[in-house]
Amino acid sequence: MASRYHQGGNVLSITVANVTKRFGTFTALDDVSLEISAGRLVALLGPSGSGKTTLLRIIAGLEFAESGAIRFDGQDISDRAAGERRVGFVFQHYALFRHMTVFENVAFGLRVRPRGERPTRQQIRDRVGDLLDLIQLRSQAGRYPSQLSGGQRQRVALARALAVEPRVLLLDEPFGALDAKVRQELRRWLRQLHDDVGVTSVFVTHDQEEALEVADQVAVMNQGRIVQVGTPDEVYNHPANSFVYNFLGNVNLFHGRVDNGMTYINQDATGDLIFARPHALEITRNANGPNHFRATTKHINAAGPLVKIEVITEWGAPVHIEMAQERFRDLALNKGEEVYIIPRDLAIFEATHGDFTPSR
């Protein structure tokens, strides 16, 4: 159905070269460079204030950088206005035109073209109809945005952006304003859509799960810089530094040092950073060998695919642990019980200057 939208030869690459952007004294982007190959779906992932939305807006031409360049297929378009870049931009809060029907919203980009390039009435009707089929909202063509659900509105916003046959599709926290269930659905739908349409796409998110699930490539951002770029597998399993490790999932943080292949955990907050994902800590009743510490179970949440347990270590720090339901039933844990914790996998980041870098 959707294959007719495949952009084929029109797919292009994006180059962000040494872009710096300041708002007053605040540096939103600090000498950022990024290469996005043609046809990719890339996530800009980072906490709020990391500059990810600013970068997206600069690519779109809604914001302009102080220095550096944006290139589409090697061609410098830094000074071009948004309307001349042929980018599709999808806003977090949809930004649909309230006084227009779904049909008119999607047709907007075609109707505002200069007279010579404007498609005929019939062409507009066909094109919009096809797009409404693509977002499965043809039956709602005559409705107004206020009569649609959040998920439907976001799909209309996407169709509106696609109507102008953009060379690049940019999405700013596209699912941020939606509830969890709809978000899940739209995520998969976006991935599918991208595979069908094939247009180079960049989306901004602060949700690591979303980025890891949807994107071909993830660019992790922090404080106006790109910290790491890689496939979801790369950034998750080989984080460049402690920030990336910390940001890409739940972690327990310990402090300590590595000596002669042995890891020692300090009970005060000094030394190297030692991370453990909640699923990499094992709870047992009888510990053998030196590799363990003692803790008391404090809270147990058995709702969900994994059982989440909070324990308090013998030195009084809370630690979060996840285990399979099966294992939990075998253990038959109770609240307030004294147990042993065996770390199965630790990530250790040595305290160098400023950032912590992996030590493996």
Partner: protein, 274 residues
């Protein structure tokens, strides 16, 4: 009652009762008194009074000048609101307060001030007169006065709408390739139109009822620059109460119809988003 719902205000019965009572006391009873007073006249007499050439000329002037003033404010009120909302400049607060001044000023003062400025030897009157444009003591002067007193309405109705208008709408339009004028015409203007029409209705209503500022600048020549409220006052001064209320009734009916029309227009222009 099927339309009764739980609400934070204590009971539909009480609030509705109060609303009706209030409207009766403040609006309906005084208005019905005019109709009652008029009914002392026979139908023939009534018709004779309200269709007298002098009365008809005053209707045309009053409604024509009020509509013109309201439409001028429609354009420039939107412009003023736009500047106040969209740009940060040093004297913005002061300018913002200036907008309300026509509300606060006694209308007679406004009238005298405008007359002084626009008279043939006034600051603006003299250069305009040398160009052949006469403002004071002409219909143009009446339009100027009504534009002056109607200014706050459009500005104050449009301002909050513009303030709430999402910047992203313009960005969305721009990224879809729309030019500035297309963005304004297709995206922004439709969004503020209902509010602007409300402002026009208010400015128009105010203009129709305006007396103080107009009588100074109008010159008050019967058939030419005499507004209906002045005609009513003239009749009252001659103790012709029935004649005065007869003309007032015509004004009421025409005003009501016009305001209803503007309200319907406004409802129609804002229907989609509802």
């Amino acid at each position: 009652m099927a339309f009764r719902r739980r609400s934070i205000i204590p009971g539909f019965g009480l609030t509705f009762g109060f609303t009706v009572l209030y409207l009766c006391l403040i609006v309906l009873i005084p208005l019905s008194a005019t109709v009652f007073e008029t009914s002392k006249l026979g139908w023939q007499q009534f018709w004779h009074i309200v269709t007298a050439p002098r009365a008809v000329a005053s209707y045309e002037l009053s409604f024509g000048a009020s509509l013109t003033g309201a439409l001028i404010n429609f354009v420039f009120g939107i412009l003023v609101a736009w500047v106040l909302v969209r740009y940060a400049f040093p004297a913005r607060r002061i300018l913002d307060s200036l907008v309300d001044l026509p509300f606060a000023l006694p209308t007679a003062v406004a009238g005298i001030a405008l007359t002084t400025i626009y008279a043939q030897n006034g600051w603006l009157g003299r250069p305009l007169a040398s160009l052949g444009v006469h403002v004071a003591f002409t219909r143009l002067g009446i339009v100027v006065a009504l534009t002056f007193i109607g200014l706050p309405f459009v500005v104050r109705t449009v301002q909050p709408i513009l303030q709430d208008l999402d910047r992203e709408l313009e960005e969305a339009a721009a990224s879809l390739g729309a030019g500035r004028w297309q963005t304004f015409g297709r995206v922004l203007f439709p969004a503020i139109l209902p509010a602007a029409l409300t402002g026009v209705a208010l400015a128009f209503a105010r203009g129709v009822g305006e007396y103080g500022s107009v009588i100074f600048i109008a010159g008050n020549m019967p058939m030419r620059t005499e507004i209906t409220p002045l005609l009513i006052v003239t009749k009252l001064e001659q103790y012709d109460y029935a004649g005065a209320t007869a003309i007032a009734v015509v004004m009421l009916v025409v005003s009501f119809v016009l305001l209803l029309g503007i309200n319907l227009l406004q409802k129609w222009s804002s229907a989609p988003s509802g």
